[in-house]
Subunit: 256 residues, 2 copies
Amino acid sequence: MHSDFAEVREEMTEPTQIDTQRSPADSDSPDSDSVYSGSPNSTASKLRADAAHNRARILAAARELFAERGIDVPMTAIARRAGVGAATLFRRFPDRRSLIAEVFATQIGHCESVLDEAAADPDPWHGFCTFIADLGRMQIEDRGFTEAFLSTFAEDSGVDEKRIRAESTFANLVDRAQKAGRLRSDFDPSDLLLIFLANGGLGEAPPEHAHDLSRRLMAYLLQSFEANGSTTARPLPRPSRMGLHEVFPPASAPEA
Amino acid sequence: MHSDFAEVREEMTEPTQIDTQRSPADSDSPDSDSVYSGSPNSTASKLRADAAHNRARILAAARELFAERGIDVPMTAIARRAGVGAATLFRRFPDRRSLIAEVFATQIGHCESVLDEAAADPDPWHGFCTFIADLGRMQIEDRGFTEAFLSTFAEDSGVDEKRIRAESTFANLVDRAQKAGRLRSDFDPSDLLLIFLANGGLGEAPPEHAHDLSRRLMAYLLQSFEANGSTTARPLPRPSRMGLHEVFPPASAPEA
DNA sequence: CAATATGTGGAACCTGGCTTCCACTTACGT
DNA sequence: ACGTAAGTGGAAGCCAGGTTCCACATATTG
């Protein structure tokens, strides 16, 4: 277990292009190569072409490694996989946080669109189930996702509006599903955090198992969430009624 | 010969008595925290009085810090809290693993007794619920518990018998609860791992919230586990049917 | 093609945790 | 009380990872 470096031999010392393997259900973000191709009008305009290229390679490498091994991978490992020197990585991204922020910006955007889609579903219960399942899948497919999500919301105050809007959208969806009589009335929007953390815990298992475990957990939970006669008979413990930013307060470093 | 007993008894007289903080519910197992003259390393047979005292202080400090901050706390921090030098800590416990093993031996023992109690319950469903709830509480109250539990089973092959016996006891309890018609028939004993990991994920939240979240998660899950008419209509994804040792294979280091 | 600002990689440095060494203390048997 | 071996703490060595420096390379522009 001390020799976790022995397995990090994947770098080829060849500066050829990284194979950009994507996870199956990942629709590529449309602007992913804006820095890299010929017409960057506004953003990253001052970057030299090769620098922009390296920057993209760093992001790709970081995305891979975060997904595989979580957000605590050594920066040097990211640099190595990207085929660049440590200085280059650090010059582009002064600290790990900024790299995480950029890598997961697309993920968070994806989250938003999934939520918006679900909220737009004419059948609120179906939308609810879809959203829960999709979110769960994203967590499992990317090992760094849960950590990044929590740390982003806990540390970066720049996403406050997004968070508030998302929470309100979800609360609205919950309300509609409840009014439709499909979601149990004592479900609370703050239970989303509960689901998120619980499912995130499954990510401790190796990926292949985690996927199955997650699907089964979700099935159990969704069945419990669904309204039925026995609901009223068995009251739940009260919900936390707290949002992400209250449970994980900003401006502090909870993780060791 | 009875001379073996004499040795054990002698060693038991000296140490202990530190006992600064105890888990609330372990008044039942009086022994089990002595020097543990087992095979591993410690020539525990003849520790000088002050040495035994320090050893106990180290264990107490480690117990506290593991519970507060997880099993990754620096060894030096443990030594500091115990009020001993780093060398002393390291002399008694050559590596972190041996310290963890000793600290959590009592926890695991407690687990066993909780399971045995539950299995002895004449009402298998009640026993089932009790066990799930107790296990969940232990996880939440001690931040290092989940990690230690997984790493112990994943790395130490010395507890195989215990694990196998526990798994079979639990499977038997499940079976009885199902035969009694209270537990849904498609619950699988391997779902225990699912519950364990999911609840462990809640430990990411600060303790005060984690407790509430856990109780609510358990309530949701137990309601889903309880047999009722709708069960048959909605089949679950298939269970992993895998034990802890298969999902977390021994002799390897899954954690970063 | 030359001039130059922009980028680059590796080496050096820093920090924090783990592990070992060693001169000094102290409990214990007599 | 005393000799001695067991025990101790702090300091020093080691290692992995993060961060900075700097001599060298090369896109870009005219």
